[in-house]
Amino acid sequence: MAPAGPIGSLRRLAVATATLALLVAACGGGTSSSTGATQAGPPQRGGSLNYLVSGPLANWDRGLDTASGGAAPSIFEDAIYGQLFRLNATGDVEPVLASAYEFSDGGKTVTLSLHQGITFQDGTPLDAAAVAWNINRDLATTCVCSPITSWPKLGPDGITTPDDHTVVIHFTRSYGAAISALITSSVNHVASPAAVQKLGDQFKLKPVGAGPFEVVSNVVSSQLVLKRYDGYFKKGQPYLDRLTFTTIGGDQPAYQAVLTGQAQAVGLTTPALIQQARQNQSLTVALTPSTAPWVIQLNTAIPPFNDKRAREAIYYATDPDAMRVHLFGNLFAATQSFTGPAGLFFQAKVPGYRTHDLAKAKQLVDQLGGLTVDLFAGNDNISTTTLQALQTQWAQAGIHTTIRPDPDLTRIIQEFTGKKWQAALQLVGAYDPAVGAGLPFRYLSTAVYSGVHDTVLDQMLDDAASSTDKGKRAQRYADIAKYISDQAYSPYLFGAVTGAVALKSVHGPGLTSSIPLPGGFPAPDWDEAWIAKG
C-alpha cells in the first residue's frame, strides 16, 4: 500500500517529476549537444551564486559543526572551512590548507604539513595545534563523518605536533588509505577551536573556519547564505562575493529554477533532465561520473543465495547494458567491479565475469527447482526504475521476484540489521574502496551492511587497505574484484552520473567541469568559482 501523507505525496511528486521530465525531454527534440563551457577567460571577481540542493544534501538539521554534522555532506563545509586536501580533475590529491603529506614507518605514520600564516575567520591561527585539536575531537564524536569509521586505531603517541605547522598521526598499523579516508571525513574540515569554545551550541549554526566563505545567515535545511572571507589564504580568492545554498523539492523544480536564472547552478541526478539540460544552449552541463556503482547485494548467509548456483543465476539473468542504454540514455558507465569510473582502482572488465546469458540462467533455475527472490532498495528514481527492470529480466529466466522500493531509510537499515534479507539493490564503493561506504562496508563479514561472510575476502580487504604503494594496492583490488566475481557474490550494474548544470556565465571546477566526488555528492571547488559579468 502506498504511504499516505507527505511521504506518499512526495513519492507521487517523484513519479510526476520523472514523468514530466520524460515528457518535456521527449517534446524538446533538437539534435544539438552543447555540454561544454564557453571560453572562460580570466576569472572575474564579484557576483552572487545561488546553488540549489535537494535530497540528502538538503538536510543540515544537525548543523554545520565539523564534528557533529551527522551525515551532512561536505558541500557546505568545503565553502566554510576549506579543505586540508582535495581531489583535482585527474583524481590526484591536491593539498589546499595543508601543503603536503608523507607516509613513514612503513605506512604507520602520516605527517601533514600546513601552510603558515593561515587564520580562521575569527582571526585566530590555523596551526598544527588547531588541526590536532580538531582530529582528536573528530575521533571522539558519534558523527558518521568521524575518521574512526575508517582509520585504524591510533598508537600510544596519538597525534603529535613537532612544530606549529606539522601534525603527525601515529597509527597502530600500516594504512595506505589514510589520506583518502581523511578527505572523506570531518578531519578534512578544520574548525576554529576558539570559536567552538566561545560559541558553544551556536557554533553549529554559525560555524567559523578558514575557508573561502563565512556564514551570513543560516535557516536550517532551508537556506544558507555565505559571503566572501577576505582573509582567505589564497590571494585574490574566492572570486564570488556571495554564495547561497537553497533547498528545493527535487530535480525538476531545481532545473526550472536554473532556467529562470533565479539559481545559477545545481547538481542533477535524473537522467532525463540531464539529457534535456545538455540540449539547452543557455546551460553548461558537466557530467561527473560516479565513484560508487550500483550493485545487487546477495545475502550469502541464508537461502537461496547460500547456494552459489542461485547467485550465478542472478548474474546470468541480469543485463545491465540493456538498462544503461534503454532506461538511462546511455549516460551511465558499465562496470564489473566495486568502484565507478571516477574512483580509484576502477575496472570496467573483470576476467571471467558472468555476463548476461539467459539460457545459462534458465538452466541454473531448473537445477534449483525454481528460484524466488525478495529484492529491496530505496525509492529514488534510479532504484525504482532498476528494480522494475530487474524483475522483468529475471522473470525471463524463470526467477520470481518481489520488489520493494522503500522510502524509509530506517526500514532499510533494519532490513540489514535483521539479517533476514535476500537481495538488495544498493550503491557500493567510494572514491577509495577502503573507506566510507566502500568495500569493507558492503563485504566485510562483520559489517552490518554486508551480505558476504568470507574470511578469505576479509583478509584480502585488510591487505589491500594497508599498503601505501599505489601499484600494489591496484593489484590487490584487481584480485579482490576477480575473487568476488568468481564467487558470484554480487553482480554490478553501472556507475551513475551527476550532471553539474550551470548557467553559461558560471565557471569553476565541479560546476562547469568534472571533478571526482569523494563523498558521493557534488562538491565544487568554491574558491575557484566565478561568474562572468554582462
Binding site: P6, D61, R62, A71, T142, Q223, P253, L409, T417
Partner: protein, 343 residues
C-alpha cells in the same frame, strides 16, 4: 450631583454590557468549543506520539544515516534521551507544553518555539493568500456560470473546474513554473521575500505557490457555489425579487449569492486542514522556508518534539478556524442562535 451621577450610569451600562456579553450565545459557544478543544488537541498529540513511536527507527538512526554503526546510534540515543520509555518522554513533553515550553528539536537542538516562530508566518501568509485566490476566483466564475445554467460560460467553467480538480497541486505547481516563470518570466520560481523587505516582492514570491494551492480549491468552490446559487435561484424570494423588477445580476449578487455564501463558508472552514496539508509539498517545490518544509524534514528526521509541536499548532489552527466559522454563522444569520431553544 450631576457630575457624580454620570459615571454611575456609565458603570451600570458597562456592567449591563458585560452581563449581556456573558450571556451571548456566540461567546458561550466559543467558550464551550474551547473547552472541548483541549481533549481534542491532547488526543491529536497523543496519537501523533503513538504513531511516531511505533514507526521503525528513531531520530538517532535517521540523523546518523546508513553508514552509522550500532554503537554510534546507541551513543546518540543516550545523548537525545531516546533510551527512556516512550510514555516518560511523552509525559515530559506534555508537561513542558503546559508550561509553554515545546522543547528542543532532536536534530538541530534549536528551541522548537524559535523554529515555529521563524517559519509559521510564512505558511500563514501562504494559506491566507491561497484562500483569497481561491475565493476571489470562485465567486465571479460561479456567478457567471449560474447566471445561465447550461450556457456556454457554465459549461466552460464546469469543464475547466473538473480539469482543475483532477490535477494534483504539485503537478500544477510545476506547470505554473514552466508557464509563468520560465517561458513568461512574470513571477519567481523559487524563494521567499519577507514582507518587511518589500510588499510587492513578497506578494510576487508567494503568487505561484498560492496559485498552485488556490486554483484546485477555486475549482472545487466554483462547482459548489454554482450549484448552490442555481438552487437559490429557484426559491420564492428570488421569484418575488424578479417580480418586483430587480435586475438579474442584482438578484444573483444581492439575494442568491448572499445566501449561498453560508455553504461556501462552511466548506472553506472545513478545508483549512487540506489547505495546510498542501503547503507541505508546495513549500518544497518553491523553496519556501515555511512550517510545511520544516514538518517534512522533521518527519524524515523522526524529530518527535518538532513534529508534535507543528501538529499541535496546525490542529489548533483547524479548531480555531472551525470555531470562527460557527461564530460567523451566528453573526451573519440572525436565525441561528447556538444553545437556544427553537422557541
Amino acid at each position: 450631583m450631576t457630575a457624580t451621577a454620570a459615571p454611575a450610569v456609565s458603570a451600570d451600562r458597562l456592567i449591563g454590557r458585560v452581563a449581556a456579553l456573558a450571556t451571548s450565545p456566540s461567546l458561550r459557544l466559543a467558550a464551550r468549543r474551547l473547552v472541548i478543544a483541549v481533549p481534542v488537541l491532547w488526543g491529536v498529540s497523543a496519537l501523533t506520539f503513538i504513531v511516531m513511536s511505533v514507526l521503525p527507527g528513531n531520530a538517532a538512526q535517521q540523523i546518523l544515516g546508513v553508514q552509522a554503526t550500532p554503537a554510534q546510534v546507541h551513543q546518540l540515543e543516550l545523548e537525545l534521551g531516546l533510551d527512556k520509555p516512550a510514555w516518560l518522554r511523552y509525559a515530559s513533553w506534555i508537561g513542558g507544553v503546559l508550561t509553554g515550553n515545546l522543547g528542543r528539536s532532536l536534530a538541530s537542538g534549536q528551541p522548537v518555539t524559535a523554529i515555529i516562530g521563524q517559519r509559521l508566518p510564512i505558511t500563514v501568509e501562504l494559506v491566507v493568500y491561497a484562500l483569497a485566490v481561491s475565493v476571489a476566483l470562485a465567486v465571479p466564475v460561479a456567478l457567471l456560470a449560474a447566471r445561465r445554467p447550461g450556457g456556454l460560460a457554465d459549461r466552460l467553467s464546469m469543464g475547466i473546474s473538473m480539469a482543475g480538480l483532477s490535477m494534483a497541486n504539485y503537478v500544477l505547481a510545476l506547470l505554473l513554473v514552466i508557464a509563468l516563470a520560465v517561458y513568461l518570466p512574470v513571477f519567481p520560481a523559487i524563494g521567499f521575500v519577507p514582507l518587511t523587505e518589500s510588499v510587492g516582492a513578497n506578494l510576487r514570491s508567494l503568487t505561484l505557490p498560492a496559485l498552485a494551492i488556490g486554483l484546485p480549491l477555486a475549482c472545487f468552490y466554483t462547482r459548489l457555489l454554482r450549484a448552490d446559487i442555481a438552487d437559490q435561484m429557484q426559491e420564492d424570494y428570488v421569484v418575488t425579487a424578479r417580480a418586483k423588477g430587480v435586475g438579474p445580476w442584482q438578484v444573483l449578487v444581492r439575494h442568491a449569492l448572499r445566501n449561498s455564501l453560508f455553504g461556501l463558508l462552511t466548506i472553506v472552514g472545513l478545508n483549512l486542514g487540506t489547505l495546510i496539508g498542501a503547503t507541505v509539498i508546495i513549500e518544497q517545490i518553491f523553496s519556501l522556508p515555511g512550517i510545511g518544509q520544516a514538518f517534512l524534514q522533521a518527519i524524515n528526521n523522526r524529530d518527535v518534539p518538532l513534529i508534535e509541536a507543528i501538529v499541535l499548532v496546525l490542529a489548533t489552527a483547524v479548531v480555531l478556524a472551525n470555531l470562527l466559522t460557527d461564530i460567523l454563522y451566528a453573526v451573519l444569520d440572525p436565525r441561528i442562535r447556538y444553545g437556544q431553544r427553537p422557541d
